[in-house]
Each structure stands twice: as C-alpha cells, then as structure tokens.
C-alpha cells in the first residue's frame, strides 16, 4: 500500500538519505535511525507535507498522521480523543481510554495531564480516528520503556488491519512490534531485519 521508487530526501540543501525501491503492505514497520537522519521528514513526506527532491512514491488509503509534538486542545480528554471520529461514539472512546489507563481522566481538561499522559491521549485519538495507513512520529518519547512496550503491543493489536510506520528510539520496542524495520543508515533508507539493524546500532540507541 506504500510504494517508494528511488527517492532522494532533502532538508533545505542538506541531503538526508536516498532509497531504492521499497514496497510496504499491511503490518507494523518501526522506523529506526539516529537523530537528524530524516525520520520526521520521511514521515512528513508520506503524509504529504514534504516533497522528495527526486524519485516518487505512492500511498493508498486514508492516512492517519501523528506528528512529533501533536497538539492537545483545550477541551476534555474525551473531547480530544473523539476529535477525528466521523461518528462520535463515546462508548468505544471510553473503552480505548481505559485500555491505556486514562479512563479516570475522561472528563478532565486535557491540558492538565502530564506530558506522558497527553501522549497516551494522542495515541488513543489516532487509533480512534482510524485509517488504512498509520504514521507515528516518536509516539512514546515521554513514556518510560516498560509502559512503551505495553502500549506498542496495544497499538499493534489495534492497527493490525493497517500499514503502520512508527519512528521509535528504542530497539527493544521496535523488536516487539515486528521482525522487519525501516532503517536509515549512512544516507540510505532500507527495509531490513531488526537483527541486522541492531548490529549497527547497539551503542547508539539503547
């Protein structure tokens, strides 16, 4: 559902990376790379906010894009969570909120939550909005590693029908999600096995 044909991605004048041909179908794909290698720019490109310098790509289906610092609006947690839903279903919303441990805050103003709690809220919001392609840019950055693992499992189960790409920092979390990953290394974007990625990054990420 995503096919990439030989793109070169730049940020201003700086070349971030190049790729060969990559095809992705339903499943979870962690996106791994050091800071500054272009993970955010790549996700923004897929979402339609950035154009590659050369090459082409296509995405089939509705895209659900969660940026690196998603906005939390001045309404209740419940209100925020339901924002992207076409049919606002309180029951399924409350269910998802409870799954991530936010049920008690459902009617509290979303801005009174801690950063980590807000990230969980955004996760719920994205899940509830639904789509065929999910793009997450570091959705667990403010969440401790153990909770991140649990949430990663949850995310995987909820988005099992879709194509999901998540930019993550932790190799451990990545491994829980999938055996395959997207790796940006030495100016190149490739699809490879998690273990192969690990071999390159043990010191840098964990």
């Amino acid at each position: 559902m995503i096919s990439i044909r030989g793109i070169e991605l730049r940020f201003g004048e700086r070349v971030l990376f190049r790729s060969g041909n990559i095809d992705l179908t339903v499943g979870a794909y962690p996106l791994i790379g050091l800071n500054g290698t272009g993970k955010t720019t790549f996700l923004r490109m897929l979402a339609g906010f950035h154009k590659p310098a050369s090459g082409s790509f296509s995405v089939n289906g509705d895209i659900m894009f969660q940026p690196q610092k998603p906005a939390v609006f001045g309404m209740s947690v419940l209100g925020n969570a339901m924002l992207g839903m076409n049919i606002r279903d309180r029951d399924s919303t409350l269910e998802v909120l409870s799954d991530v441990g936010l049920a008690e805050f459902a009617h509290a103003p979303a801005r009174t939550l801690s950063v980590g709690e807000q990230q969980r809220l955004c996760l719920c919001r994205s899940i509830l909005t639904g789509g065929d392609v999910f793009l997450f840019d570091e959705p667990f950055s403010a969440i401790d590693l153990n909770s991140a693992d649990i949430l990663a499992d949850y995310l995987k189960s909820k988005c099992s029908h879709a194509l999901t790409i998540l930019a993550v920092h932790s190799l451990k979390t990545a491994r829980r999600m999938s055996e395959k990953c997207l790796l940006i290394r030495q100016g190149e974007l490739i699809l490879c096995d998690i273990d192969a990625a690990a071999a390159h990054f043990i010191r840098s990420i964990e």
């Binding site: 309404m75 209740s76 209100g79 103003p109």
Partner: protein, 283 residues
C-alpha cells in the same frame, strides 16, 4: 466549562442578539413620531444661547415640528446647507449668506432677529473704551493704549465682525504686533477666559458673556448697541431644485413661523427673566 459542541453556537447566538439589539436601537434613535423632524444647521453660539431650546415647545405645539440641531462653526454651518446636508439654515454672517443665496443653493433669506456684539474689557478700562463714540474708534483707542487685545481669529461671525471693525478704523490687522493682537484660534468662551486672565479687551457676542459672567470676574461690558456692532440673524431655505429630497414643506412652515408676530414676541422676551434684558431684538 461549557460543552465543546454547544459553545460555538452559544457564542454565535450571543453575538446575534447583541448585533440585532444594537442595530434595532440605533434605528430607533431616529424619531418615529408622526411629527416632522427638521435638521437645522446653525452656529454653536446660536445653539448655546438657549434660544432654540426655549422656542422648541412652542414650535412643537404650533407647527408640530421638532428640530434636530446641527451646531457647527459659522463657515461649516453654511457649507452644510450648501451641500444639502440639512433642511434649513440659521446663520449670522450676512456676506457668506449672500454668497450662498447668489450661488443658487440658498433662497428666501429672511432676517428675523438681531443683537449686538459687545466690546468686553477690564473693569478699570485703561483705554477708555466706555467713552468712545463708535466701535471702530474704540478699537483705535485700544491700539493706542497698548492693552492686550484678544482675537478669535477663526473665521467665525464674531471674528469677521471684529476684523471689519479694525478695517473701519483704518488698521490692518496683519500689521499689529503679536504681543498686542493675541490670536487664540478658539471659541468665544475660551477667548473670554484668556482675556479675563490678563485683563485684556475682546469683541464678544453678548449672550456668551452674560451666560458665563460668573467665570469672568475681571471683565465687564464696556461698549454696546452701536450700529457698527449689529449682528443680524437670518433663516435661509435650501433650494428644492438643487436638493429635491429634503423636507421642504416643513422647512417653509418653520421659516414662516419664525417671522410670525407671536414668535418674534417670544424671541424678544427670551432672557428677560434670567438676565434682566433681552438677548435678541426684533423689528
């Protein structure tokens, strides 16, 4: 906290009510009575004299006309009439009024009352204005004495009269030194207050002085009722051929009413109670 869904609607309704009320009330600012309201353009000194407020109830009772009074400077008042922005004009600048009529926009200029400018000065009267034979010779006397003279210098009716008196005395005001001939550029009351401060002379209309005498303890009326000081008030209509959609019928009735014997008697009586003398005279 209001519910997220309902809040924008509530705000929209609130604005809607506010705007509707406001517009409705401003529309009601226009009188919706069956009688006619004329826009009268006149000068601030006529308005401030209180004459129009005094005549208003009689006008309402006898002709069913109410006046909306647009009080501006002399030049502005006549310009308003010549631009067709009022229904009728009362002014007291004969030269400018004649231009207005000769130009074709004004018609039926009718002089209906007059009063006198007065020469105001300090109570001790160093220039002996009180003993003058004429207004212009009084001015000569003030010039020779050297006491301060305050001029409004604002092209008002009073200012035009003052400049014509200097002219009659054979003195060119542009030759007068700035520390003698003090140009205030202000209205009558402000100019009087300045004259009161330094004990200077000035030309004034009588009613402004009388109405504010308590604020001007050092000044008094030194010279009056000389033909050179005559201040004639006229009512003038706007030519219907030039501006057809004014309230010409009611304006004509007002014009006629001002010249009625009964109205003129009332005008002559105005001020007798308060000041012991009339502020305006009629023929």
């Amino acid at each position: 906290m209001m519910k997220a869904v309902k809040q924008p609607l509530r705000h929209a309704l609130l604005w809607g009510v506010v705007v509707a009320t406001a517009l409705g009330l401003t529309a009601c600012g226009k009188k919706s009575n069956p009688d006619v309201t004329l826009i009268l353009s006149t000068t601030t000194s006529v308005n401030d004299s209180g004459l129009l407020a005094y005549l208003a109830p009689y006008l309402k009772e006898e002709e069913n006309i109410t006046l909306d009074i647009l009080a501006q400077g002399s030049g502005q008042a006549i310009k308003t009439a010549s631009d067709g922005n009022c229904d009728v004009l009362i002014a007291h600048s004969p030269a400018a009024e004649r231009d207005f009529v000769d130009g074709g926009t004004g018609e039926n200029r009718q002089e209906f009352m007059y009063n006198y400018f007065v020469i105001i000065g300090p109570k001790d009267d160093p220039a002996n204005v009180a003993g003058s034979v004429s207004a212009s010779s009084a001015f000569t006397g003030i010039y020779e004495n050297g006491a301060d003279f305050y001029s409004r210098d604002d092209s008002s009716g009073t200012d035009s009269k003052e400049k014509s008196l200097w002219s009659a005395a054979g003195i060119d005001t542009s030759d007068l030194p700035d520390d003698f001939y003090l140009k205030t550029g202000k209205g009558m009351l402000d100019t009087l207050i300045m004259a009161d401060n330094t004990g200077g002379y000035t030309l004034s209309d009588k009613s402004t002085f009388l109405a504010n005498a308590d604020k001007l303890p050092n000044l008094t009326i030194l010279y009056e009722k000389n033909d050179e000081l005559k201040n004639v008030y006229s009512v003038i209509l706007v030519n219907p051929d030039v501006y057809p959609d004014l309230q010409h019928e009611a304006a004509k009735r007002f014009h006629a009413w001002l010249s009625l014997k009964s109205t003129l008697e009332k005008i002559a009586a105005f001020g007798l109670d308060t000041y012991g003398e009339s502020l305006f005279f009629v023929n």
